[in-house]
């Protein structure tokens, strides 16, 4: 039964929302989480890849969450040239259906109330502050008051905009994506594979993330710059039919990933945003599970602190923005790398692939070079380029 008021209302039951609800409930607040879909964890609009170390820093990892352990990366250049890279970190391909359900259950175990099939239709304001949400729960409309609302409502977020925040994703920064979970594939299950080519995924890339010995998520993202003429659904069909003619299509899903610079503001009076709703993704890779979980946790903790001090205004809530600042700076840098990488032409990718192949295998740590060098000194990109051309 939905109460008339809570300390904290969380909109959205993905990893960011569940971590926010769990953190706030764990710290002693009364919490309701509203999920618009009928089931937490479904549909899985995600390639499901995550770094093992990063995940382990947030939670004790359960084996049921892991579909496949990943130990290497393969890049395929437009020419078809394949480059295997030494990997600097073990990765997992998750089973997000189980993972997301567990995260919501953790929130519930901490005392949060979880309601599915509950659509948030708008915000409720008092004296200009966000003071609750208007919901539609199985056709029953009501207002639920809250001291703090946390918007974790994903790429389709409207919560922030209702509170006056500028969360529209610029069209060139939205990746329009299609993915199939396919079986009967001949793949190397310990490797994730990326294809770069204008023909396969203009302004983006195609991924193959194995979920087992012969099953994988095959998906691609197309930048909004190109997605009017090049529809992801058709590009995916073409690729799979050409490369995996015997594939069995088990599940198809579509979605968008905000790959933008950090938002200018993540808070308003009585409101915090977390996860995709706050564009907290890596704009180069589109990855957002870990950053969503971390930001949700921080948002939940900040909400409780604000409630304890009795100051629910945006100036107090900016504490959350300060805590997020190091991540925002990384996002800024990855955005610059993204702009560079997605402006490369097919022949540039081919040249880079050839140059990397001439290096001994143990030195092929492009990801590592990019990450380490560019975070420290963005201008190094020109030096790295000289290395490869």
């Amino acid at each position: 039964m939905i109460e008339k008021n809570y300390d904290v209302v969380v909109v959205g039951g993905g990893p960011a929302g569940s971590m926010a609800a769990r953190a706030a409930a764990h710290a002693g607040s009364t919490v309701a989480l509203f999920e618009k879909d009928r089931e937490i964890g479904i549909p899985v609009r995600c390639a499901e890849g995550v770094g093992a170390k990063a995940l382990g820093s947030l939670l004790e990892i359960r084996p049921e969450w892991i579909s496949q352990r990943i130990s290497g990366v393969r890049f395929i250049a437009p020419s078809g040239q394949s480059v295997d890279m030494a990997n600097d970190e073990i990765g997992f391909i998750l089973n997000r259906k189980i993972f997301d359900a567990d995260l919501a259950k953790f929130a519930g175990d901490s005392g949060a109330h979880i309601f599915t099939k509950t659509y948030v239709e708008g915000l409720f304001f008092q004296d200009g502050h966000v003071a609750g949400v208007r919901i539609n729960h199985l056709g029953h409309r009501m207002t639920v008051e809250a001291k703090i609302v946390i918007g974790a409502d994903g790429v389709e977020s409207r919560v922030g905009r209702w509170a006056g925040l500028h969360t529209q994703t610029p069209i060139h920064d939205m990746e329009s994506c299609a993915q199939v979970t396919a079986g009967n594939l001949e793949i190397e299950p310990s490797l994730i594979t990326f294809y770069f080519s204008h023909e396969i995924a203009p302004g983006g890339y195609l991924w193959i993330f194995p979920k087992g010995p012969d099953i994988a998520n095959i998906g691609l993202g197309v930048s909004g710059e190109y997605s009017r003429e090049h529809k992801p659904v058709e590009l995916l069909q073409n690729f799979v039919h050409r490369h995996f003619p015997r594939a069995v299509w088990l599940s198809t899903v579509f979605g968008g990933v905000p790959c933008s610079k950090p938002l200018e503001s993540l808070v308003a009076d009585g409101l915090l945003l977390a996860g995709d709703a706050a564009h907290q993704t890596n704009p180069l890779t589109g990855g957002g599970i870990i950053s969503g979980m971390l930001s949700g946790k921080l948002a939940g903790e900040t909400a409780v602190k604000a409630i304890r001090t009795g100051d629910l205004g945006r100036h107090f809530l900016q504490e959350y923005e300060r805590q997020w600042q190091p991540e925002a700076e990384k996002q800024e840098k990855f955005y610059k790398i993204k702009e560079f990488v997605f402006n490369l032409r097919d022949k540039d990718f081919d040249q880079i692939a050839a140059a990397v192949l001439s290096l001994p295998a143990e030195k092929r740590t492009l990801v590592n070079i990019f990450r380490k060098a560019l975070i420290k000194k963005p201008s190094l990109i020109f030096d790295i380029l000289k290395l490869f051309t």
Binding site: K36, D37, R38, R45, K117, Y119, N136, G154, V155, E156, S157, R158, R161, W162, Q168, T169, P170, I171, M174, S176, C177, A178, V222, G224, S227, R228, K231, P232, V233, V253, F254, G255, G256, P258
Partner: protein, 64 residues
């Protein structure tokens, strides 16, 4: 000015269109999507970004 034509059978309710709408003019629940005519400025961002081509720019909406 004509708002985008929406083909529900082609829609995955993924919300990518909502994220690029400058007017916050798209309402999305689990399996319903509504373009709010009062707010829509026919910028066609949603048509451009839709991964499944469920949204389309058309001048002949009446016959549909």
């Amino acid at each position: 000015m004509t708002i985008p034509y929406y083909r529900q059978s082609q829609c995955d309710f993924c919300g990518t269109c909502v994220g690029v709408c400058p007017e916050n003019a798209i309402e999305l629940a689990e399996t319903t999507l509504v373009i709010l005519e009062d707010l829509c400025t026919a910028c066609m961002n949603c048509v451009i970004i839709c991964p499944t081509a469920a949204l389309e720019e058309r001048d002949d909406r009446k016959e549909l």
